[in-house]
């Protein structure tokens, strides 16, 4: 009786397990394998012409050479009395930089300069000092390249105003001695007005991937293309 019960249980368990093993072990993986093969073959098929093209006509690399001119513009006014050395100042590209037929740096691309000397207006009518070092610009593909340029500005001295005011004050009031007024006259801060343009130079040679840049005449064609 006991043996029969065991046998029945074994039979049942084997009977239920076989489909499960089939399901787990062979049937589905075959389907999946087939799907995977299809996908792989599709991928290979899709990619094959592209790879063939690449192998057939290798693209020439674009080279952005050292010393290439880059025309930049200050976005906002920079005053020596309102910045501290080490701070960054924003600039933007004025004219696109073109290598061959590709626009490597688009107009209005952001560039950065670092304040290297900042001195506010000084006493005795002497002006301030401001020096900046242009450091980098972003290419059309998002990469950043180094630039070489610097700009030094000296604030104007206030001597003419000092002398005029002293003269006027002296005529108006005898006690307005030049010495007293001298205490208060300060020079002017060195200022770079917004919109000031400077020329920077690419610092080093850079090899670029041409597939990441568009051609110079791409946008006019797009505009003129029929919708």
């Amino acid at each position: 009786m006991f043996t029969t019960a065991i046998s029945i249980l074994l039979a049942f368990s084997l009977g239920f397990n076989v489909p499960v093993q089939l399901f787990q072990g062979s049937a589905v993986p075959q389907e999946l394998a087939a799907l995977q093969r299809e996908e792989t073959s599709d991928f290979v098929l899709q990619d094959a012409p592209r790879q063939a093209e690449i192998h057939a006509a290798p693209q020439e690399s674009v080279r952005l050479t050292d010393g290439t001119q880059v025309h930049l513009r200050f976005i906002s006014t920079v005053a020596s009395s309102q910045v501290i050395a080490g701070e960054k100042v924003a600039l933007e590209l004025v004219e696109p930089v073109v290598v061959g037929s590709l626009v490597v740096i688009s107009p209005h691309s952001p560039a950065e300069a670092t304040v290297t000397v900042a001195q506010a207006k000084r006493s005795m009518g002497r002006g301030g000092n401001l020096a900046l070092k242009v450091e980098s610009i972003r290419l059309a593909d998002g990469e950043t390249v180094t630039l070489r340029a610097s700009k030094d500005v000296k604030g104007g001295d206030n001597q003419p105003r000092l002398l005029t005011t002293l003269g006027t004050a002296g005529m108006m009031y005898w006690a307005a001695s030049p010495l007293v007024f001298l205490f208060y006259v300060k020079g002017k801060s060195a200022t770079i007005p917004a919109g000031t343009e400077i020329t920077a130079y690419i610092g080093g040679d850079f090899t670029l991937d041409p597939s990441k840049f568009h051609a110079v005449d791409a946008s006019p064609q797009e505009k003129s293309a029929p919708k």
């Binding site: 906002s76 309102q82 080490g86 924003a90 670092t114 000397v117 000084r122 005011t165 010495l179």
Partner: protein, 189 residues
């Protein structure tokens, strides 16, 4: 009495005139400013910038130095290749001659000069903030580069205290002519 009253009146007039002159010197916005000049509004004012720089540059109050001038000729240091060498020079002007001009970098007093003195120290490359304290604060911020020598001049004038970056030629001339300042920070009792 009348003379004193007149002098006071003159002083007030001049003070007002000077304030007016300062007010005229707000940086003018260029008419050709690009549309992206909106960040201008977010710029710090002159006063805020000066306050910020004072916080970064000047040392704490209550620090004093014991000082003497080394009259004998001193050997000058070699320029370290990985650091900047900074000379701090005070010229021979007699304006404020009795005052000691303390000098701080990055919020720490590092030395002091009397008239016709200089001292030097090394600084790591990068931005640094300098402060001279005599008759008011003179401030300067500078990005220094390794392997370079900088000459800073403390100037005490009737109008205040300035700290100037001077050219190497002038700086060398002053260092050759003036005497080295020797100082030790006085310990608090």
């Amino acid at each position: 009495m009348k003379i004193i009253r007149t002098m006071c009146l003159a002083f007030l007039i001049l003070h007002s005139a000077a304030r007016f002159t300062d007010a005229q010197e707000i940086p003018t916005k260029s008419p050709q400013a690009s549309p992206a000049s909106v960040p201008e509004e977010k710029q710090r004012s002159e006063r805020e910038t000066r306050k910020r720089l004072e916080q970064l540059a000047c040392g704490p109050e209550g620090v004093h130095f014991a000082h003497h001038t080394e009259k004998s000729s001193q050997p000058l240091p070699e320029q370290p290749p990985d650091k900047a060498l900074i000379y701090v020079i005070r010229n021979g002007s007699m304006v404020g001659a009795a005052m000691r001009a303390k000098f701080a970098m990055d919020g720490k007093w590092v030395g002091m000069n009397r008239v016709s003195n200089y001292f030097y120290f090394e600084a790591s490359p990068g931005p640094h903030y300098f402060c001279v304290d005599a008759n008011g604060h003179g401030l300067l911020s500078l990005v220094v580069e390794k392997g370079t020598t900088y000459y800073l001049q403390q100037r005490l004038t009737m109008g205040g205290t300035d700290l100037d970056l001077i050219d190497a030629e002038k700086g060398k001339e002053y260092v050759a002519k003036y005497h080295r300042s020797i100082f030790v920070e006085k310990l608090k009792n």
